[in-house]
Amino acid sequence: MDYRFTPEQEAFRKGFVSWLGNNLPEEWSPNRLRNYHTTEAWADAYKRFQKRLFDAGYAAMHYPKEYGGQGKSLMDEVIVLQTIANTCIELRMPGVVTLGMAVPTIATCGNEEQKKEFLPRIFDGTHIWCQGFSEPNAGSDVANCATRAVRQNGHYILDGQKTWTSFAHMSDYCILLVRTDPGVAKHKGLSYLLVDMKTKGIEIRPMTQITGEAEFNEVFFDNVKVPLEMRVGQEGQGWMIAITTLMFERTVGDATMAAAYEKNIEKMLEMAKTTMRSGKLVIDDPVFRQQLAQACIDVMVLKYHGLRSLSKQLQGGIPGPEGSIGKLLWSEPNQRISDAVLSMQGPNSQVLRGTPWSIQDGHWQYGFLRAKGNTIEAGTSEIQRNIIGERCLNLPKDVSRVARQK
C-alpha cells in the first residue's frame, strides 16, 4: 500500500502546477466568488481555458491520441483535474457534464465514427455538452422517461420535455435519453441519442434556482429531427448505457471533488482566523473549533475514500455500485460544513457579496444554498441508499416496485 505519487507523477504534478500558474486567464481572480456574470462569458472562459490545456498537452490525458487525448494514464488525468479543482474550479464548471459524462459515454459505448467526430472537439474546448435525463415526471425514477423518439425516413422524430438540464443554455450538444418503444417494460424501451442543440424545434428556457442564478434549464423538443446514426448503442439499450455513464461520473469525480473541498477547508480556516465574535476570533472558540475539526475530518474521509476507489479503478476494476458511497460522502458533508460555517458568522451570515460586511465575497452564502442541490442532483441521497441497500447489501426491493416491474 502506498498513498504517495511516484517520482514521475510528482514531477508531472509540479510541472502542471507551474504551467497553470502562468496560464490562468488574465481577468480571472481567485478572490471573487464569480468572475463571469453572463452565461456567454462563462462558457467562453471555459472554452478558452480548455483550448489552452489542449494546446499544452494537458487535456484528456488518459484518452488515445487518435481521439485527441494524450495517451497517458488515468492517474495523470486525475492529477490535472485535482490541480484545477484546487485552483480554479470556476473555469471547469461549464465542462463538468461534458467531460465527466458525455466523454466516458461516447468513449465507452459510442462507435468509431462517433468517437472520431465528437471527442476531439470536446477535448479542444470547441463544444460543450449537456445531459438530458430528468423530465417533469422522471426525477429519481429516470426510467419513467417519456420523451418520444419515433423512426421516420432515416431519422428519429423527437417530442417531449427535459428538465434540470445543467448548462443546456451554453451547450452545443446533448446526451439524451428517449423512449423508442413504449410497448415494453419501461427501462427496456429507452435509447440513447447524441443531439445537436441547434437543431430546429429545440427550445431552451433557463430556470432560476435557489441561488438566484440560472445553471439549469427546461428543454423542449417539438418535432426535432435526429439522424439514426446519432444513436449510441442499440435501440433499447439506453437504460444500460445511462447507468454506465452515471457510474463513470463517480470515481474520477470524487477524487476531483476532494481537491475542491480541500480548497474550501482552507477558506474556512482563513475565515475562522479573521472573523470576530464578541471580540474574539472564531478559531479561538472551543465549540467552533470542534465543528471546524469535524469539517476537516469529513473532507479527509472523502479524500481517502476517493483515493481507495480510484486505486481500485486504476488496477482495472470497473466502477460499481459502491460509487454511491462517494456521492453521499461529498454531498451531505458539503451541506453540514456550509451550514456550520454560516452559524459561525452570526448575523453577518445573511450578507451577500459586495458589501464591507460581506465575508469572503459571499462565498459561503452561495455555497450554503448551492449545497442544497447536492443531495438531489446526480441521484438523490435516497436513490443512492436504495442502490447501496439493494446492490451492495442485497436487501430485497420493495414489494410495490417489484410488482410494477413485472
Partner: protein, 380 residues
C-alpha cells in the same frame, strides 16, 4: 499510489478470520465477559504461536518487524469477533512503549519475552482528574537517590491485573508543558506498594483496572527513555494504539452491520422482509457507507504511522480516532434498532459490540479531545 493489500496481507487477513472463527467463537467471548481474568492460556498461547505478539516488535528483539497496517488487519478481525484478552494492551501499549523509548538492555529483557508470550504488559495513563485527556498527567514521582518514589492512582489501565509490567507515565517536573515534564517508568507489576483492582465496566470483553501506587520505590533502571522527555515517545505509542482501536472499530462495525442486514432479509412483518422497507434499507445502507468510509480512513492512518511525516501521522491518528469510533458507536446502535426486541436482549450478541464501541470511543482520548488535536494541527 497503490491502495490495496499485498498477497501477504491478504493471507494475514484470511488466517486471522479463520483463527477468530475457530478459537474465539461467541461462546468463548460470553464466558470471558464474565470471567475475571478475561482470557484462557490456551487461546493466548495459540495467538502467540500464530505470531501476533511478535508482529510489531523489531526483528533484533525476537519480533517480526512488520508494519502497523499488518497489525491493523489482525485487529480488524479481532474487533469483528469482539475478542477478549490482553493482546492489544501488551502489543500496542506495554511492549510498544518499550520498543519506542527503551534502552537496549530494557528491550533485551522484555521484548523477546513479549514476542514469545511469556510476558504481558500495559500502559498506565489516565488519572482521576484527567477526564478523556490522556496527556493530563499529574501523578508525581519523587527523586529518591538514583530512583523514584511513586504515589497516586492510575485509572482505566487495560489488563493491568494480568500484566507482568506496567509502563507508567508520571510527572517529574512542575509546569504546564508535557514535553518537558513527563517521564515514563517501567514498573514490575509485583512491586510492593502497587495495588491492582478490576473495575466493573460495561464492556466486559476488555478489562480495565485501577492501579494504586503507595510509596512504590523503583530504581534508576526503571526509567524508560530520558528524564522529563517521556511525552514524545508516549505520543507515538498512543497514535499507533489509537489507530489499533480504529481497526477494532471497523471490524466490529462491519459485523454489527451484518447482524442487521441478515436479519432485515429474513424478518417478515406486514407480509414482507423488513429490509424491503426504505426506513430499514436506508438505515442499513448508511451502515455500509459508514463502515467502508471508516475503513478507507483506517488504511490511510495505519499507513501514515510508518510512512507519513510526524504531522501527517498525528493528524491521521486523531481524525481516524474520531471517525472510526463514532462509526462503530452509530452502526452498533443502529443495528440494535433494526434487530428490534431481539437486539435489546442479552441473548443476541449485538450488545457486546455496542459496549466495545462505547469503550473504544473514550479510550486514549475521546471525540472532543481528538477533534481538538485535529484543529490544533491543521490550523497551526
Amino acid at each position: 499510489m497503490d491502495i490495496k493489500f499485498s498477497e501477504d496481507q491478504v493471507e494475514i487477513l484470511r488466517q486471522a478470520r479463520r483463527f477468530c472463527e475457530n478459537e474465539m467463537p461467541m461462546t468463548y467471548v460470553r464466558t470471558m465477559f464474565e470471567d475475571e481474568r478475561g482470557f484462557t492460556d490456551e487461546v493466548w498461547s495459540k495467538m502467540v504461536e500464530i505470531g501476533w505478539t511478535a508482529m510489531l516488535l523489531p526483528e533484533a528483539y525476537g519480533g517480526l518487524g512488520m508494519e502497523l497496517l499488518d497489525m491493523s488487519i489482525v485487529l480488524e478481525e479481532l474487533g469483528r469477533a469482539v475478542s477478549p484478552g490482553p493482546l492489544f494492551s501488551t502489543v500496542l501499549l506495554g511492549a510498544s512503549a518499550i520498543a519506542e523509548a527503551g534502552s537496549d538492555a530494557q528491550k533485551q529483557r522484555y521484548l523477546p519475552a513479549v514476542a514469545e508470550g511469556t510476558m504481558r504488559g500495559t500502559l498506565a495513563l489516565h488519572e482521576p482528574g484527567s477526564g478523556a485527556d490522556p496527556g493530563y498527567i499529574m501523578m508525581e514521582a519523587m527523586r529518591d537517590g538514583d530512583g523514584f518514589i511513586v504515589s497516586g492512582t492510575k485509572l482505566f489501565v487495560p489488563d493491568a491485573h494480568v500484566s507482568d509490567f506496567i509502563v507508567c507515565a508520571v510527572r517529574t517536573e512542575k509546569g504546564g508543558d508535557p514535553s518537558k515534564s513527563i517521564t515514563l517508568l517501567l514498573i514490575d507489576a509485583k512491586t510492593p506498594g502497587l495495588m491492582i483492582s478490576l473495575l466493573p465496566t460495561m464492556d466486559g470483553t476488555r478489562k480495565l483496572c485501577a492501579v494504586e501506587f503507595k510509596n512504590v520505590s523503583v530504581g534508576k533502571d526503571a526509567m524508560l527513555g530520558e528524564m522529563n522527555r517521556g511525552w514524545g515517545p508516549l505520543r507515538k505509542v498512543m497514535q499507533k494504539a489509537q489507530v489499533g482501536l480504529c481497526a477494532e472499530c471497523v471490524g466490529g462495525a462491519e459485523k454489527a452491520m451484518e447482524f442487521a442486514t441478515e436479519y432485515a432479509k429474513v424478518r417478515v412483518q406486514f407480509d414482507q422482509p423488513i429490509g424491503s422497507f426504505q426506513a430499514i434499507k436506508h438505515r442499513c445502507a448508511q451502515m455500509y457507507v459508514d463502515v467502508e468510509s471508516a475503513r478507507s480512513l483506517l488504511y490511510w492512518a495505519s499507513w501514515a504511522q510508518d510512512h507519513g511525516d510526524a504531522n501527517e501521522a498525528a493528524i491521521a491518528a486523531s481524525a481516524a480516532k474520531v471517525y472510526c469510533t463514532e462509526v462503530y458507536r452509530n452502526v452498533s446502535a443502529s443495528a440494535i434498532q433494526v434487530l428490534g426486541g431481539t437486539g435489546f436482549s442479552w441473548e443476541h450478541d449485538i450488545h457486546f459490540y455496542l459496549k466495545r464501541a462505547k469503550a473504544n470511543e473514550v479510550a486514549l482520548g475521546d471525540l472532543a479531545y481528538h477533534r481538538e488535536q485535529v484543529i490544533g494541527l491543521v490550523a497551526q
